[in-house]
Amino acid sequence: MMAAHPTRGLDETVHQRHRLGILTITSEADSADFGYLRDALELTPGNLSRHLTVLEEAGLVQVWKGYEGRRPRTWVKITAEGRAALTAEVAALTELVRRHNGMSSAKPIG
């Protein structure tokens, strides 16, 4: 039986550059600040909000608002499902790259 093609491991919600970026950053910390995500991913606040909504609705991140003094701050935390989705996405991408490199090196010369 043939193994499933690695693209089957790609999730539409996660397989998007910025959303993958959000999951990557939040997986590296206990929680990430909205401002940090916006700057690191070079997104507008509105766009980041929309991406966060998509991820939150999929249960991949938790978003909560708090105050630091009078300054409002929004924090994002990856969920266990988000961590699993990120691991699966990175594994699928790694497998795709591996297959692509294998195919490139197997190409006949000339």
């Binding site: 693209t7 790609l10 539409e12 397989h15 998007q16 550059r17 910025h18 959303r19 993958l20 970026g21 990557t24 950053i25 590296e28 910390a29 206990d30 929680s31 990430a32 600040d33 401002g35 940090y36 995500l37 916006r38 690191a40 991913l41 070079e42 997104l43 507008t44 509105g46 766009n47 929309r50 991406h51 909504t53 998509v54 630091e68 924090w75 990175v90 991408l93 790694t94 795709l96 790259v97 692509h100």
Partner: protein, 243 residues
């Protein structure tokens, strides 16, 4: 580059080259780790705590005509009172390690709020408390070999255990290396008289200097933490300035 305005719906499985996306994941991961790293302070803090314990390790002045030379169980404050340690030394260690763990957790909370990425420092505090409790209990039930407890430097191993947990929380290879070197140094300080090395380097104690011959066992691990902390501070500051 200006902030990108993309629609969340974009990004079909074919939209981005896998290698590009993996490269981006690697870059963002590296940046996040680098931003989050703040371990220079706990290294310096516990280096000072260990260095500050030196007065408790000075060999007491002889009460009679007999001069106590070198290391003996009675001259070192063991972590457990059952080891015949000085009560002041034990109180110092309990307070200093407790304060060090608390200050470290406060430091990480503040650093996390400042940079926008928080580090789970709870594990560091919990590891310190568990290791402290174990080292308080184990010598009492004679679970540890006497060679390891006789010099009273077991508290160093509490710090070592906490550093390993911190290296994991920080996901830092550099801190793991520092924790390994510190653990080795702590074990050396617990099992060997470091003064012997100092003697070979040319220090010949005279008169009351004999009372200080125990201090190399304290200063060596302290120096490892202070030097590592200073190095980490410079490296972390450079990275931030470069970013």
């Amino acid at each position: 580059m200006s902030p990108t305005d993309t629609t969340p719906g974009e990004g079909s499985p074919q939209a981005e080259a896998p290698a590009t996306m993996l490269g981006e994941v690697k870059r963002l991961r590296g940046e996040a780790r680098s931003t989050r790293h703040a371990y220079w302070l706990p290294l310096v803090l516990f280096g000072l705590v260990i260095g500050g314990s030196a007065p408790f390790y000075v060999v007491p002045a002889p009460s009679g005509q007999t001069v106590v030379i070198g290391v003996s169980g009675a001259t070192f404050p063991g972590f457990s009172p059952l080891l015949g340690g000085q009560p002041a030394g034990i109180v110092y260690w309990l307070l200093a390690i407790g304060a060090g763990l608390y200050l470290t957790s406060v430091w990480y909370r503040r650093h996390g709020r400042r940079v926008g990425l928080t580090t789970p420092a709870r594990g560091f505090v919990i590891a310190g408390i568990i290791a402290g409790a174990l080292l308080l209990v184990l010598p009492a039930v004679q679970f540890l070999p006497e060679d390891l407890v006789v010099r009273g430097t077991l508290p160093f191993l509490i710090v070592a255990a906490a550093l390993w947990v911190l290296a994991h929380a920080e996901r830092s290879t550099a801190l793991a290396v520092i924790a390994a070197v510190f653990t080795a140094t702590s074990l050396l300080a617990s099992l060997y008289n470091v003064e012997n090395v100092v003697f070979r380097l040319g220090w010949i104690p005279t008169g009351n200097e004999w009372r200080l011959t125990t201090l190399p066992n304290i200063f060596l691990p302290a120096l490892v933490l202070l030097a590592s902390g200073a190095g980490a501070y410079v490296a972390q500051r450079r990275k931030r300035v470069a970013a």
